[in-house]
């Protein structure tokens, strides 16, 4: 006769029922941590923690694009050369290209709402990177200065931001 001692036990959490009608709806909890690499862009994120804004550029003189890239890329999209790094000289002064005030944000937002998200033109940079304005109210054409979260860095792109720059 087979013994019942070694029977399989239910070791999970009992699934909660949200509603019974018109169909049975259950809860399906999730708690997951992904492990994500910054890969060859690691110098950019390291640089932010050191108060440096780093960009990449294509060293191939025959390439049609030799401007700076932020967000950086490890490889040139035009000629596929491996890009080189350049640290922008502080203070980095940019111009607000456009902006929005984020009022209603999705789950997990790490900035207190409402806040101003800005897209900034930087001299010599071919791209217009997205960031945020720490204080003040942006307008198109506004001059802004890059600052860095060197104390208690978040280890993310939030480690640089902009503040109004008045000459």
């Amino acid at each position: 006769m087979t013994k019942r001692m070694a029977q399989t036990k239910f070791i999970g959490q009992v699934t909660k029922v949200r509603q019974e009608k018109p169909a049975m709806v259950i809860e399906w909890p999730r708690s997951i941590t992904h492990v994500h690499t910054y890969g060859m862009l690691t110098p950019f994120f390291q640089g932010l923690k050191e108060g440096k804004l780093r960009a990449t550029y294509c060293p191939n003189e025959g390439c049609p694009e030799n401007g700076l890239w932020i967000p950086p890329r490890a490889h040139c999209p035009d000629c596929h050369s491996e890009m080189k790094w350049k640290t922008l000289r502080n203070p980095v002064i940019g111009t607000v290209h456009t902006f929005t005030e984020v009022v209603y944000a999705g789950t997990g937002i790490e900035l207190s709402t409402p806040y101003w998200q800005i897209d900034v033109e930087i001299p010599g940079v071919v791209t217009i990177p997205k960031s945020y304005l720490l204080y003040g109210k942006p307008y198109i054409g506004m001059k802004v200065k890059a600052e860095f979260r060197t104390k208690n860095p978040t280890n993310t792109v939030l480690d640089y931001y902009w503040v109004p720059y008045e000459t």
């Binding site: 910054y38 967000p71 456009t98 929005t100 209603y104 999705g106 937002i109 897209d119 071919v126 997205k130």
Partner: protein
Amino acid sequence: MIRFKEGNLRVPKWNRRVFMVAGGTTAYRKYFPEYKLEELVMIAFKNLLEDNDLKMDPLEVKGLINYAAYGEFADHFQDQLLCQAKVHDYLGLDPLYNMGIKTGGATGGSTIMQAAMAVASGYANVALAAGWERMDEVDTRTGNFYISTAACKDFETRLGRIYSSYYAPMANRFAWAFKVSEITRAKIAVKNHLYACSSPYAQQPGKYTVEDVLNSPMSAYPLRFLECCAMSVGAAAVLICDEETAYRLTDRPCELFICGGTHTLRVADRRPMDIPLLPHETPDMYKDLIEKQSRYPGFESFLAARFAAWLTYRMAGIQNPLEELDLVELHDAFTISDLQTYGDIGLRPYGQEQDYIESGDAYYINPHTGLPGKCPSNLSGGLIGTMHAVGATGIFQAVECLWQLQQKYDKFHGDPKIWKKWGKKKPKDWQSLQIPETSKQALWVSHAGVGSHVTVGILRKSW
């Protein structure tokens, strides 16, 4: 600067003509616990097989299918990898091959393109294109976060965690560059919510005023809640055929042309380039615009949409879209994306997009003249008024275009039984939005990201 070489600009050409003959859909809801996902797809599939006046028994039609393309935006919404296998089995189509398609908000358009390529190549005579999304397993803010992972996770997602915050900067720049009042955007929201009132499938119908829109809660300045699309559950399907089979199945087939374009996921990375000109455009038209704005496409326009239109118009022989199209269904995920697209697909020149709304051309009935609009837009109610079950969206838009050209708008929107089927009562003041019988061509745009993938499809009446 994007520079093209010879092969890059080859205009796609089907190896044989491709047709769309039937469509099906569910209603769309924010929360749809009554049905599992595969059950919703079955409902849309049955609608396609049984209700389109096809000249064969539904199961005989099913017996002609030998390939399926399935669109789904996000595995993390469904929480089910290989959802297409589950759906395909549920529809009873094994062991015919199927492929899952994922191109963000353009998934529906890409899915139809995939089915069309199967027919054009000869792999299939009859292909099913179906799409779905189940966005109600998580709360709205978590849904918004999920969608925002379709921004660059390293450089953008953390700066908003909601997609409106990636479109809103475009709205501010567009308004600044072209001196556009936010009233124009609000009119788009009013129009599309209103047209949704005629649809038994609509999730967000409403009779709003411009003031209602502008006074609705802010999502990301300047985009208000009433300017933003629905987050939906639902499914849609179309049947794609070769020419011979199309006429065997229906007396009202529509020939299909569809092409796509792409551009950077991050708007930040859009380097300036020359404007690819549509057949009716000349370089002189944009001399001032480029001088003033300094960059194209910048934050104002979608190169992916322009490139898709550039190809599709040449593929279909369209010379002037405003003159030759009788209906457009555009991807109004936000009022601003709708507005921007008018320039991309040539309904107006770049810089004059707002005139498409202000002139009344975009309306079913032009509010200035009381006559039919020249090329009405989003009579389905669009994404703002009716649905955005992402993987289904580009397919639902095509279904609406097909039924309009087949003169079946009233059949599929005005029958009280359909309203009842979806738990609604047909409004007493229901209005038909059927386009005239003389209409020949309809276009729909399926659009992803902040313009990362776009398909432009055209259906041409072929009877």
